[in-house]
Amino acid sequence: MMTITVKFFASLREQLGKSETLLSTSKPLTVSQVWSQVCDNISLPAHILTAVNMEYVEANTLVNPGDEVAFFPPVTGG
């Protein structure tokens, strides 16, 4: 088993009450699956943006054990 590092940014950090969590896995998961596994099986909301290893990606991208996934909200205010 290896771990995927999961990070929550900005308002997601506030809502979930944590900025980082570790997910143990032996096989690759999609970004959506990572979200569901660390968020009580809730599916990934469509508006949430995702990055794997600091690269902006779509929710169906595969995440390998050892990777870092970051979730962050859209921002439009000004």
């Binding site: 940014f9 900005a10 308002s11 950090r13 506030e14 900025s19 469509a46 508006h47 943006l49 990055a51 600091m54 690269e55 902006y56 970051a70 962050f72 909200p73 859209p74 921002v75 439009t76 205010g77 000004g78």
Partner: protein, 251 residues
């Protein structure tokens, strides 16, 4: 040339030619709120020659904690004319074109076409997408900033580079969230951080120096004082910018 901009000579990247170049540059600033305030004030102070200011709103007292180009003497005045007064006090030779309406349709195209860089300081996705599409159409650099609560983002899009993503590549299928700073709240100086970074990027793009934040998304979380720079790729299915890609492929 005037003494106001003399201190720039201390920087090897900004020489006399750069100051001349800035004084002949024209920047469109869309939104004269929390982000537009520092962008406009720093560009005026840096010596950009011509600012086109677009905003349909008037100054309200609730704006003043974060929209620092306006002050209590301007309450009820249009934001563009309030800003004009402050910016001319900063830089008397600055040319300002105030547009007190929403930039849409032909007016948007005409204004984007006529400037060197567009600063997106607006507060809604409808305006942001329209601005982005116009910048792609007319091949103009777009420096986009956004901020809410404790978080902010900055990205630079350079449609002249075939590999550059556009704003739509970042938000392919987002719906208007209606999360405005007045409803959700914002840490007032955060718009200063984000707007100032936009101004830095605009000066770099105008003068072709350094590495602009193109193909990157700068994210700042003021609550934890953490920032990250994500790599952003062109979306091959982007409805706005993928025509440039397919045109290149055809060539």
């Amino acid at each position: 040339m005037n003494n106001l901009h003399h201190p720039h000579f201390l920087s090897p990247q900004i020489d006399i030619d750069s100051i001349q170049k800035l004084s002949h540059s024209k920047v469109l600033i869309v939104g004269l709120g929390g982000l537009g305030s520092p962008v406009a004030m720093y560009l005026a102070a840096t010596g950009v020659g011509h600012l086109v200011l677009a905003d349909s709103d008037t100054v309200e007292i609730s704006n003043l904690q974060r929209q620092i180009v306006h002050d209590t003497f301007q309450i009820g005045q249009s934001k563009v004319h309030s800003a004009l007064r402050k910016l001319q006090a900063i830089h008397p030779h600055l040319q300002i074109t105030p547009i007190q309406q929403r930039l849409e349709g032909d007016l948007l195209d005409a204004q984007v076409k006529a400037v060197d860089v567009v600063a997106d300081c607006s507060d809604n996705f409808t305006t942001r997408f329209a601005l982005n599409a116009a910048c792609v159409r007319h091949c103009k650099p777009l420096v986009a900033g956004a901020a809410i609560r404790f978080t902010g983002q900055v990205a630079v899009f350079l449609p002249s580079l075939p590999q550059s993503p556009c704003y739509r590549c970042l938000y392919p299928d987002i719906e208007e969230t209606a999360e405005t700073c007045s409803q959700m709240g914002i840490l007032a100086p955060l718009v200063g951080v984000i707007g100032s970074l936009q101004a830095v990027e605009i000066v770099k793009v105008l003068l072709y120096f350094g590495q602009p934040l193109c193909g990157k998304l700068f994210l700042f979380d003021a609550y934890t004082t953490q920032w990250r720079i994500l790599t952003l790729y062109k979306d091959v299915n982007c409805p706005v910018c993928n025509h440039t890609l397919s045109a290149d492929v055809r060539l």
